[in-house]
Amino acid sequence: MSTMTDNQSGPMLAADGTPLKVSLARALRRQKIRAFLLIVPLLAFILISFIAPIGDMLFRSVENGIVPETMPRTVVALEDWDETSGEAPSEAVFAAFYEDMKVAMEEKTHTKLGSRLNYDTAGIASLFRKLRKPMGNIDETQPIKPQFIDAEEDWGDPEVWQTIKRLSGYYTSSYFLSAVDMESTHDGIQMKDDFERIYLTLLWRTMVLSVAITVSCILLGYPIAFLLANLPLRTSNILMILVLLPFWTSLLVRTSSWIVLLQQEGVINDTLVSLGILDDQGRLELMYNQVGTIVAMTHILLPFMILPLYSVMKTISPSYVRAAKSLGANDWTAFWKVYFPNSVPGIGAGAVLVFILAIGYYITPELVGGTSGIFISNRIAYHISSSLNWGLAAALGVMLLALILVFYWLYDRIVGIDNVKLG
């Protein structure tokens, strides 16, 4: 054991002379490999089914390969064109465009290209759909530009070519600009016209409604969680089933039952009318607006507030409140100065959970939100399934994700994520 003598400097050595750290790592390697093998199936599943598709989707928010790939010659020729001149580009550009489109029409990619360009400048899609008309009658021995403009005068509009030039790169910021109601023109980046703005309003509304839902969940959930945490176990278990019941009921069923209750011919309005509180003409508009969204989503997300609150309140020893009272605090002071501060981690956890769930909610606002109560996620769904503008959908999704991360960061700074207790 000469290696273990006291005057030895340098790393500790194991009995056989190898450094102790190496020896320890070797001993632990088998364990580590086994632990890794155990998580491999889940890891692979998550990678394939979750991380990869989301990554691909998010990448679409900047990806713009279709323009340079479908019209390589035009893109090169347009480099020499001064887009601020206010005139259509030169004959060379039209010639290159003609060559590109011959290929594109054979491959039938020209309408896709048109749709892509149409996201930035409305009307271009129809130009490309009707491309067969100018292309079919071109005399290749003559200059192409006048023939094009004669057949379809919109091809002489510099705005069309400005759009093409702007989008000629493999990557674009245009989806993100659209997502914040901005556009890039030859004068630079600027806000869209008032009547075209939609996403910032929608984003703001999503946040405001989510905050409203979170606050109403706190206000409604806190007393219930308090009751549950302080009742004898038998009673609280029965009540807990009532809290969990919504979890076991389909989201659609719950939302639909709110429709039954809230609609103008619904239970609440009928009752108020039959009691004479409202007259038949003055029925309340309780749904297809923000009220409907807030009411239904508060109900649906309430368990996510109650459960973390309950589990935190369970850990608050009743002796704290007793101690406060024995020290001279009345019921309210004992609650406010002692019980409430200790329940804040539960409020924090519940609020984060409810807010993050609310900000990305889709089904309920879709069903009861009407036009004024829909969320940004409904717009994302529209672009995914109806307008097929996946790039914009992806950009909106990235923004939503970034927003949640910002809130998470803010929350960590203000409350401290260590203070969050989920159970």
């Binding site: 020893s317 002796s319 704290y320 007793r322 101690a323 406060a324 009272k325 024995s326 020290l327 001279g328 605090a329 009345n330 019921d331 002071t333 004992a334 100065k337 002692v338 501060p341 200790n342």
Partner: protein, 364 residues
């Protein structure tokens, strides 16, 4: 005046939680001003319930509790002005030590300067002057305990309740804290009602001890009286170690009784404390340290067979068979003159009649 003598009076107090079982049966006690009174008893004996009724957290089902001569059954806890130390200290985790101590002062509307001065003095009293800025979680158990005591005393209550405050500490710390609390009690002259199930704690600290069992005070007396003159078999067995011998009373002669032991047939003399008349069963109680070995000048002489010897340094613990009991323990002091004992040997033992008490028979 009664008001000056007693700080707390329980009058015929009963408590039931479910309306079927009385947890506290007819509790009467007068607690003197400046007294350190301990409620001692096994768990479920009703001692904590009595403390909670005094603090105001549990209403009395029947009877009246007086504080300074005023009935307090309808006074809420925060208006009783009683300091309390809880079992697990109940220090507020979200406040620093100083904020914890300032809490009772702030709710009483004291000025900031007064608060600071009193908090500082309280921290010095429990020898933690540097700890004001720490959180309770950053303190050791003993330190938390001292803060809890300081918090219960900082608003200068006349009465402090302590509910098994040392239960969570290890043995050495517990003994240290016993003396510290005792010392604080003596310095401040505050009245203390202390609840514990640890009899040595009760014996060390108290002026008087109320021994609880089954919702009834079995005996209320000073520690030395409780130990040396237990009034019934429960107290005798609960306080300290005790040898029990069963027998039948054969004669009563003033304050002494002649008792015929079971099995062996020997008759011994004992003080008649609670043994009933001639012919009734009785339990004799003798402290292990009052039994002498190998001497023949004792009032009562018997013989015992040594079953087990345990060497404990200052004394030797000798378990013997005496009559029908195999659990008869004698503490033999480790002195030059101590008897040389061997396992299996039969040796003469004896005790003074005054050290042997004839008590009731415990149903067990």
């Amino acid at each position: 005046m009664e008001r000056d003598d007693y700080i707390v009076r329980f009058e015929n107090v009963q408590k039931s939680y479910d309306g079927e079982i009385l947890v506290v049966k007819n509790f009467n006690i007068d607690i003197e001003r400046g007294e350190f009174l301990t409620m001692l008893g096994p768990s479920g004996s009703g001692k904590t319930t009595c403390l909670m009724m005094l603090a105001g957290f549990e209403p009395a089902t029947h009877g009246e509790i007086y504080l300074n001569g005023q009935p307090i059954n309808n006074v809420p806890p925060h208006k009783r002005g009683i300091g309390m130390v809880f079992q697990n200290y109940a220090l507020f985790p979200h406040m620093t030590v100083a904020e914890n101590l300032a809490f009772p002062l702030k709710v009483r509307g004291l000025s900031r300067a007064d608060c600071d001065a009193k908090v500082k003095r309280a921290l010095e009293m429990v020898r933690l002057p540097q700890m004001g800025g720490r959180r309770p979680a950053q303190l050791s158990g003993g330190q938390q305990q001292r803060v809890a005591v300081a918090r219960a005393l900082v608003f200068e209550p006349e009465l402090v309740l302590m509910d098994e405050p040392l239960g969570a500490l290890d043995k050495n710390l517990r003994e240290e804290m016993q003396f510290e609390i005792k010392h604080i009690h003596e310095t401040l002259g505050v009245s203390v009602v202390y609840v514990t199930h640890d009899q040595s704690e009760a014996l060390t600290m108290s002026n008087r001890i109320a021994v609880f069992d089954d919702g009834i005070v079995q005996q209320l007396a000073a520690p030395e009286v409780l130990y040396e003159q237990p009034e019934n078999a429960f107290v005798a067995s609960f306080i300290g170690e005790n040898n029990r011998l069963m027998g039948t009373v054969t004669a009563l002669n003033g304050s002494t009784a002649q008792v015929k032991l079971d099995g062996g047939g020997e008759t011994v003399g004992a003080l008649a404390i609670k043994c009933g008349g001639v012919g009734e069963r009785t339990q004799l109680s003798i402290r292990p340290e009052r039994v002498v070995i190998g001497q023949d000048d004792a009032d009562n002489k018997l013989s015992g067979k040594v079953v087990e010897l345990i060497y404990l340094g200052d004394h030797i613990r000798c378990r013997m068979q005496v009559g029908t009991s195999e659990e008869f323990v004698v503490k033999v002091p480790n002195s030059h003159a101590h008897a040389a004992l061997k396992v299996g040997e039969v040796t003469p033992i004896g005790w003074a009649t005054d050290d042997c008490r004839a008590l009731d028979v415990l149903e067990a």
